[in-house]
Symmetry: C2
Subunit: 299 residues, 2 copies
């Protein structure tokens, strides 16, 4: 959980709530309640942001509140193509001493989504769960691939679903072909692999099967911040609602995640996610069906 | 029609048959016969290449044979990522004086595919058709967008389908968003617009509708030469076979085109297209169905 300063070609926000956990929670809360959040915030985190999430069914019992420090802060500026960005400021603040503690009331969680933190932190969270969740999904990034490769290998062997983007998949495996990279990653442990390609959609790999979900072609991407985490929240939220972790249902979950991500980029930070309605989500999912549906008769 | 010298990270060919018309003809010949070819070749064009195409049902009546000149020659080298290439040699040879003449026996052609040549040449071909074909599709490239913009505007107003890649769509409209670019291009004339994104698939725009077809995730792209033309040949071939030019059937045609293109890149030049079977095409189309098919129940 964080505050961000974001600048895109369309404008800027000096201070807007953000962080993986916020995006995942907002997205997932449309499908399942409660969403049990484990994170850390500082003395600057506004009560109104907490209430907004709580009203969506998000539990803060696992969120540590530090009185004498500020929340994690990130500042970035997007380039014109919106696919690349420069990080201007990263202030760890409370995140420097984050040791997540899973509350007793969270022990029955069946679906665990591990945000992008040090793999040792991800391992600690899995270790605290007395009963292994039915599904453990995780995100990671280039920084951990290069700085903590051994811990990363350990956690990869403990999870069911890995979500990475295409450049991370290539860096993790030293394979340029995403098909070859996927095979290598699945040998490392995750039974399911999602490779996100931003505006070019996402691939789901499982055994020798592959599924592709496009991103919705949009007139404008206003602010891509949090789109990947929103995708993750929609994906895990759908699985948690349906309690079905088959490959077939994961295809649907990827469409749901893609639909949620397509909302996220329409406004700054999580602004669009805060106001979204069930009708809008259903309409958006129908747009995805129209986007890829075709009839074919082999002759 | 041409000879190419191609170098990819996987090897090279000093002299291999190529050119848009060859790829379009090979691809389309799997779906419709005859394929009426209008092109020009020099004294170096081998009889065995002509027979190979004729056996596939391709008519050479519209192919001019020049005795004292060589065929068009292109030489290129692909970079490691296969998405970019350097052109090493372009020898126009016979193509410098190409003035296509439509034979009387081709006048009843219902489907016309205009390869990537000067828009004035494309206009000349349309003008020679005594009855307007039911569907006219065309390709173009950045070179004509910058060097012959007025002729290009004229031909765009005469055709039904434009096929371009994403960078060409952006250059033609000065719009970065492909959705905005598509709207602008459709205002220029073509009722249908296909934007090809290489390994990231293709988009079909028509009125306010959009359809997306992915590229098949491949272990290796061996040689991308001709993939776009092969896509075009499969697309128009399917439409000509079914004689149905509705948006719904164009979706299917894009899947057929994508399937054909996925074969093309498996070997050098058109080598793979020469050997392809009906069973292989059907299997490949089934892979596309599996790749994008999902079930969803809105709740």
């Amino acid at each position: 959980m964080a505050y961000d300063a974001i600048e895109t070609p369309f404008g800027k926000r000096e201070k807007i709530v953000g962080g993986s956990a916020v995006y995942v929670a907002y997205a997932a809360s449309n499908f399942v309640k409660p969403v049990n959040l484990v994170s850390i915030i500082g003395n600057d985190f506004e009560g109104s942001e907490i209430s907004a999430l709580e009203q969506k069914g998000v539990s803060f019992e696992g969120v540590e509140r530090v009185k004498d420090k500020k929340s994690f802060f990130w500042s970035g500026r997007y380039h014109l193509d919106m696919n690349t960005r420069d990080t201007l400021v990263t202030d760890l603040n409370v995140l420097a001493d984050f040791n997540p503690v899973i509350p007793e009331s969270f022990q029955d969680s069946e679906f665990l989504m591990l945000g992008n933190l040090h793999p040792a932190t991800q391992i600690s969270v899995i270790g605290q769960m007395k009963t292994r969740p039915r599904l453990i999904a995780m995100d990671t990034m280039n920084y951990w691939i290069s700085s903590a490769p051994e811990d990363l290998k350990t956690v990869l062997a403990m999870v069911d679903v890995l979500m990475v983007n295409d450049s991370e998949a290539r860096e993790l495996t030293h394979e340029f072909s995403l098909v070859k990279a996927a095979r290598t990653i699945i040998e490392m442990g995750p039974k399911f692999l999602i490779i996100k390609k931003g505006e070019h959609g996402a691939l789901l790999f499982h055994k020798n099967q592959v599924f592709f979900a496009p991103a919705l072609p949009l007139e404008e991407v206003f602010d891509p911040t949090g789109a990947g985490d929103t995708f993750a929240g929609g994906f895990v939220g759908h699985l948690a609602r349906t309690k079905d972790i088959s490959f077939e249902n994961m295809k649907t979950a990827i469409i749901v995640g893609s639909a949620m991500a397509s909302f996220c980029v329409e406004k700054f930070g999580p602004e669009r996610l805060k106001e979204i309605t069930k009708t809008e989500i259903d309409d958006r999912i129908r747009q995805f069906i129209d986007l890829v549906n075709f009839d074919i008769a082999l002759v």
